[in-house]
Symmetry: none
Subunit: 456 residues, 2 copies
């Protein structure tokens, strides 16, 4: 039996030193467009894992020098293996002018570390490492094998994690996987997600002319923007629901137990979401449990951007030659991005929009684990032991992560656990991580190893 | 009787020097967003008119330092006055990457001057000045009073030409007005337009959120772009025709004679338009005389720009908080911009789009002169004398110009004459003007003064 009181003291003692090393890691501006910083962050991570005692391997793709490497660190022995799926890249820090301190000059204010990546995912990565270190320091040896899989393209769509893992097929073999983050709510209740949604991102392109033409001939010249607008309008019905033919064909209907579970979740977070963003009401007038169900179970079709013509100050009276839109579709089990993209093509063709081109950007599938799975029970026990409140469990986080690529081949269950909060501002200016939450995340991670190793 | 052989020789002799001065004028990037360049081009124009011998006045609006001035130049005496309505501002040059040479570094290639404004309207303005100079140099004195009215906001909607003219009401009094441009077709046939279309420009705005939100919540958060797309889609039917309720209510039905006139026009220009812009076919499969009628008589509704979300390289998975589109409506007699804007508001409200805001940008009405008017006869005679081919006459140019503001109060007839061509690429990248056409436009302008002064 591990002495968790001693482990908690170790975490508390080490936190100042650990904070210094998190600050070091956050200094790398490891955005997708900065290959040097990506390599720097990868090297730093590898070195830290070696210091932990892990066998470290830097996995690269042959003939693809521009693909950030996958840092693999293995430590511990035992009949079971857990994959810790993390990343060392970060979202772009822009818009810089909204940061109160520079995103790559980490500072501590009122117990929070402010930096791009402070939570997502450098803070969360370090909390996993610290949890393992604390376990080792307290118990001497790990109760299972722990495998860190730390990629460098998560924020730009994890395009190569599949091919990278394909070069070392044994890396996928595991009995559980932890999703990168994990949350707690404003009252410190743990919030576990049992999966991630998939995503399909495409760019639609309509080109009707070689170049823009004076709008005086609009009665005879086809307008690319009008064409794109007409095509996009068919993807939504008048209430605001997705109207893409066949979009729901492959959706696995949630069971009554799943629904009941979701409907019982508290709605405080929803109210906070609405008021934080100033939304007058939810789409289609959804409220409370209905909104919770929509977020949990429904796939989405979202126009993330659209543009055509001259959009600067002033005006330009042209028929635009080219119009573009980027769409993202958040997918649930058992949708496949390929089938959704094919459905989109067929939907457009059926309505005469064969002039609307679809350019694939990237995609991944959803990967959900049953909310009753033993691994979820272990995550719940670990979280509740630290936070002393009942955990809330949801079938999936609303967002996407490459768990399908990591877990599906060997049918590895996954779950999230940790201590991220809405006000950590992941992906937004002034991203931050409460250092006390980092300690909580480390303690939960350490306890999970015990719970996981002890599962029947 | 003016010695036009001598005048033509003068034009030929002076053309190289004139080309240099046109190059000078085209170097001003006098886009609406560049007040310094606008003032530079205005000052240059005023100086050039003074050098011509004109009495020049810079008309400004009191307490409106940001309104580009109206440059007025009067020269010549006689019982009749013609207003030459021109402008020194230009369309934005964007997209810059499609230009073969920089838009504000004019260069001559194969007899054409390439620059933004080379035709529209700096080349056309200079051809008017050169015509007057040539007339003076050959005949000694003008046969009528010529009044240049050169504004600086034509490309952004001529918002202030009315108020500017209101400060000097005598400036509108005239017996004829020449519209800024004037065209010839690929076989050098003169093409006269007896009017201009009106225009209404508006910006539509939908705001659903205080700021963009992560697209994982797209199932409950309203997407501004999807809302705007849905609203815009109602403005067009499935064939591509304008579907704005009441849009055609005030349209003055063209007479049979007008229709016959238009249907008899040659269609070469249409074919050239299609091939220059690489349009696969005309909207709604229109061809020949049907396309000519559409261009001549139909008002238009055009999406000139649309934008929402992050449109830079990469992707940003957000539900955009705000979406915007700019529309232009080309109007014919007797449509009023106010009634069309009210029709748009009512159309959107009737369909539940009261969340779509309409922001007025600017507007002007159409101003058409009878194709049988004596001033049109004078323009025809002048054009046919130079080009030695029968002129084609159309009720209106497809585009807009502020002739309503200049002419309607005193019921001044207007017509265009000159030598612009479809492949001059006005408003498009690689705008250009054949220098030989500039000479033709100058010669036609000079002859028009004689024909106009001699009208019964």
């Amino acid at each position: 039996m591990t002495d968790f009181a001693a482990l908690d003291r170790y975490v508390q003692d080490r936190l100042p030193t650990w904070t210094d090393e998190l600050i070091e890691l956050c200094r790398f501006p490891s955005e997708a467009t900065n290959p040097e910083a990506l390599l720097g962050a990868a090297g730093w991570t590898a070195e830290r894992l070696r210091r932990l005692g892990a066998r470290v391997e830097i996995v690269t793709l042959p003939d693809s020098a521009d693909v950030p490497p996958l840092v693999v660190g293995e430590i511990g022995e035992g009949p079971r293996t857990v994959n810790l799926v993390q990343h060392y890249d970060v979202q772009p820090a822009h818009p810089l002018e909204l940061w109160e301190s520079p995103p790559y000059e980490p500072v501590i204010r009122e117990g929070r570390l402010y930096a791009r990546g402070a939570t997502d995912n450098k803070g969360e990565l370090m909390a996993r490492i610290w949890g393992v270190e604390a376990y080792l320091a307290t118990a001497g040896a790990l109760p299972c094998r722990v495998r860190f899989l730390v990629e460098g393209e998560e924020e730009s769509g994890s395009k190569n994690i599949g091919p990278l893992l394909d070069t070392r097929r044994e890396l996928r073999r595991a009995d559980a996987a932890l999703i990168e983050g994990g949350g707690i709510d404003p009252t410190d209740r743990p919030f576990l997600d049992c999966g991630v949604r998939g995503i399909l991102m495409v760019e639609l392109l309509v080109r009707t002319l070689r170049s823009d033409v004076h709008s005086s001939v609009a009665s005879v010249i086809e307008n690319s923007a009008a064409r794109l607008v007409a095509a996009l309008a068919t993807l939504r019905d008048t209430r605001g629901a997705v109207a893409l033919d066949g979009f729901l064909d492959d959706v696995r209907e949630p069971g009554e137990a799943d629904r009941a579970h979701v409907r019982a979740l508290p709605t405080d977070d929803l109210d906070e979401l609405r008021s934080a963003y100033g939304a007058a009401h939810f789409l289609m007038g959804r409220q409370g449990a209905d909104a919770l169900e929509a977020i949990a179970f429904e796939p989405t079709a979202n126009i993330q951007a659209i543009w055509a013509g001259y959009t600067g100050p002033g005006t330009k009276n042209v028929v635009p030659a080219e119009a573009r839109a980027r769409l993202d579709f958040r997918l649930v089990p058992d949708q496949s991005p390929e089938r959704v993209e094919a459905a989109l093509r067929a939907h457009l063709d059926r309505r005469g929009f064969d002039d609307v081109q679809i350019q694939h950007i990237d995609s991944t599938r959803a990967w959900w684990t049953s909310m009753e799975h033993p691994v979820v029970r272990a995550a719940r026990a670990a979280s509740e032991a630290v936070l002393r409140q009942q955990a809330m469990i949801s079938p999936s986080m609303p967002g996407s992560a490459p768990m399908w690529e990591v877990c599906s081949r060997d049918d590895v269950p996954n779950v999230s656990l940790g201590a991220g909060r809405t006000d950590c501002m992941a992906h937004a200016p002034n991203e931050n991580y409460r250092l006390s939450d980092a300690a909580i995340a480390a303690r939960i991670t350490a306890r999970f190893l015990d719970e996981f190793a002890a599962l029947d």
